[in-house]
Every structure is written in C-alpha cells, then in structure tokens.
C-alpha cells in the first residue's frame, strides 16, 4: 500500500475546499426548490428524492463516495444473459471455448 502523506489535522486549505463544495450544494438545492413549479412536482421527481438520499448518506462516516456512487447506479443483474442474452457469434474455437 502507498505511504500516504499525513496531515496532523484538517488543513485550512482542505477545510475551505470542502466548505465551498457544501455551500455550493446547499445553494443548488435551495435554487432548485425556489425555481420548482408549485403542486409538489419536485417532491414527486424520483431524481430529487435520490439527491435527498445522497445528502443524507454524506453524514455517515466511512466510504461515503463508494456508497453514493452505488446509490446513483442501476442495479446489476448477475443472470442478465440467462434469457437468451448475447453469446459469442463467431468461430467457436477462437478463444478456447
């Protein structure tokens, strides 16, 4: 594993960078609400609920980025080829089949 550069505490530079991202995020969410049509259209949008879930997960320590990337991903079906999905179309002997 790599020898990581160690920082004894949260540096000012990193604090300001993350602070700026969080302020941008907060303003972006406020802006979306402010511009949204009345009648609960925004609340009914599954993408808005997805964003809300992602923001909630930011508060959980650990691998936040992995967790949030998973949240934003379509599910993988291990058996996706069972129902006649694509098979090798060409010569059966080329790849040690």
């Amino acid at each position: 594993m790599l020898g990581l550069p160690m920082h004894p505490s949260l540096s000012d530079q990193r604090f300001l960078a993350i602070r700026s991202l969080i302020v941008e995020l907060a303003a972006g969410l406020d802006r979306t609400e402010r511009h949204a049509a009345a009648g609960g259209v925004l609340e009914a949008d599954p993408r808005w609920r997805l964003l809300a879930e992602a923001v909630e997960r930011l508060t959980r320590p650990g691998h936040r980025v992995d967790d949030i990337q998973q949240l934003f991903s379509d599910a993988y079906e291990p058996g996706w080829r069972k129902d006649g999905g694509p098979r090798l179309a060409g010569s059966p002997n080329c790849c040690g089949q």
């Binding site: 990581l4 379509d74 999905g85």
Partner: protein
C-alpha cells in the same frame, strides 16, 4: 514531467492543443476510435475516419514532437446498428497493419443494450483472432456499474485472453476494484461533470496503489480538458506524493501497456534521450 495521455480524441481538438500538450511535457497520445458526435452512415465513413487516425493525426502530432498512437473499432453508440457494425468490423483488418495502431478500442457498452453487447463480443473476438490489445469504454453515470459488470462477464467468455493487455476505461470509485481484481488495467478519466476529477483520481491512487492504473483526459468534442493529466500531476504533487510514483502512473504505466502491442515503437522524444 514527461507524460502520456493514453485516451484523447485529437481529431476533435485544434492544432493549438498539440502545442499546449507539448509544452506541458506530453510525449505521446493514444486515440481510441469513438463516436464523433454524429452517426456515420456507412462503413466507408469509418474507413475515412480510420485513415484520419492512422495517417493524418500522427503527422499533426509529429509537428509538435508528440507520438500519436491509435485504436480501431466501431464504438458502442453506433454499434446499436448491428449491420453497420459488422461492415465496419470487416473493414478493420485493412488498417491493423498501420504502424501507429495499438489495438482494438474503444469498444464497450453505452446503454447496456443487447445489440451493443453482441457487437462488443464480436470485436473482442476480432482482437483475440488478431492478437491485439483491447481498450474498453464503460458507460456513463447510472449505467456505469451495471455496464462494467456486464463487460467483465462477457470477457470471462475468453479464458485465453491476456488480462494484462486489456484496459477497462473510465473507472470510478464503484468500478475500479472490479477491473483491477480481475487483472485488467484500469483507466481513470478526468472529465468534467460526468466522470472523475483530479482529486478523486489521487484518492483512488491512495486507496488502490499505482499498479495497472492509467490517467487520461478523454479530451474530445465535448466540454473537456486536454491538459487533465498535468492537472493530476499537480494535484498529486500538492499532496506530497513522490515524483517517482507520479511518473510511474503518467509515463511508465501507459508505455508498459503500449509495449504489449507488437507494433509498438517508443515515442521519438524518449528515444532521443539516449
């Protein structure tokens, strides 16, 4: 620092970009065949494109002391038309003898459709038959995880495939481990909004090490930064990482991959170092 951008679409960039890359220390670029922003209507359209990336771009790059390599294929987006895709696949061997060709790419999936998967498999087979290295595009955003897993499932059909000659590109935090654990190269694409940032690429280096890891810009006709690899170099330095580690990722690794192609000739600027 000398570096290589192993995934950039120079056909979409102006000549000034070659000059900027040269000033930044770029010694070589590799250009996978991709979707040019519009659907081409015939295999002959692709023949002209293949001439552009095997004849025209190498000359344009050489004007700035940059070696230009390329990869040939029909991309996943246009592969939805299977008939056209098969005509293009039949034309690819005409160009495999070009001296700058590194292999077959960027094949892959876009929307994870059955047609895309069919054409992907046929192009992997083409690469295996011709003993070519492979560069693989993985889908964007919500499709990425599923598409990457589907690609790895399909590659498992080829037990004799040398995993050390295959790149799974555009990996992010949720897909990198799948590619590396299976023995493939993993490419991190530094691209605004839809892919990875320089800081997140540094994070992945810290978490997964430098082995079989590549960094590229995927600079193309969309909003993108052709100097994204230098951005990564600067971000790694700012964190205090060793120059030798950075150089391994941006120079040693891509050249080690390229060397797996039998036609590979080193970039002239490196040969001239003596």
């Amino acid at each position: 620092m000398n570096y290589v951008d192993p995934h950039i679409h120079m056909v979409s960039r102006v000549t000034d970009d070659y000059e900027t890359l040269a000033r930044m220390g770029c010694v070589a670029v590799s250009e996978p065949a991709f979707w040019a922003g519009f659907d081409r209507r015939s295999a002959d359209g692709f023949r002209d494109y293949f001439r552009q990336i095997t004849e025209v771009e190498p000359k344009r790059a050489a004007g700035y002391g940059i070696a230009h390599y390329s990869w040939l294929c029909i991309n996943a987006k246009e592969a939805e038309d299977v008939k056209l895709a098969r005509d293009v696949i039949a034309a690819i061997p005409e160009f495999l003898g070009a001296s700058n060709v590194l292999g077959i790419g960027e094949i892959g999936l876009n929307k994870n459709t059955r047609n895309e998967a069919t054409v992907f498999l046929e192009q992997v087979e083409l690469a295996v038959q011709h003993d070519e290295t492979i560069l693989i595009h993985t889908p964007h955003l919500a499709d990425k995880l599923r598409g990457t897993r589907m690609i790895l499932d399909m590659l498992a059909d080829f037990p004799r495939l040398d995993r050390g000659r295959v790149v799974i590109d555009h990996v992010e935090e949720h897909t990198i481990r799948h590619a590396l654990d299976a023995g493939y190269w993993a490419g991190m694409t530094l691209y605004p909004v839809t892919k990875c940032s320089p800081e997140r690429a540094c994070d992945m280096v810290e978490r997964y090490g430098s082995e079989r890891l590549l960094v590229n810009s995927a600079g193309d006709w969309g909003p993108s930064r052709p100097v994204a690899v230098p951005d990564f170099i600067v971000a790694m330095r700012a964190r205090g990482h060793a120059e030798s580690l950075i150089e391994t990722i941006v120079l040693g690794n891509p050249l080690a991959l390229f060397q797996r192609c039998r036609r590979y000739v080193p970039p002239p600027r490196l040969s001239a170092r003596g």
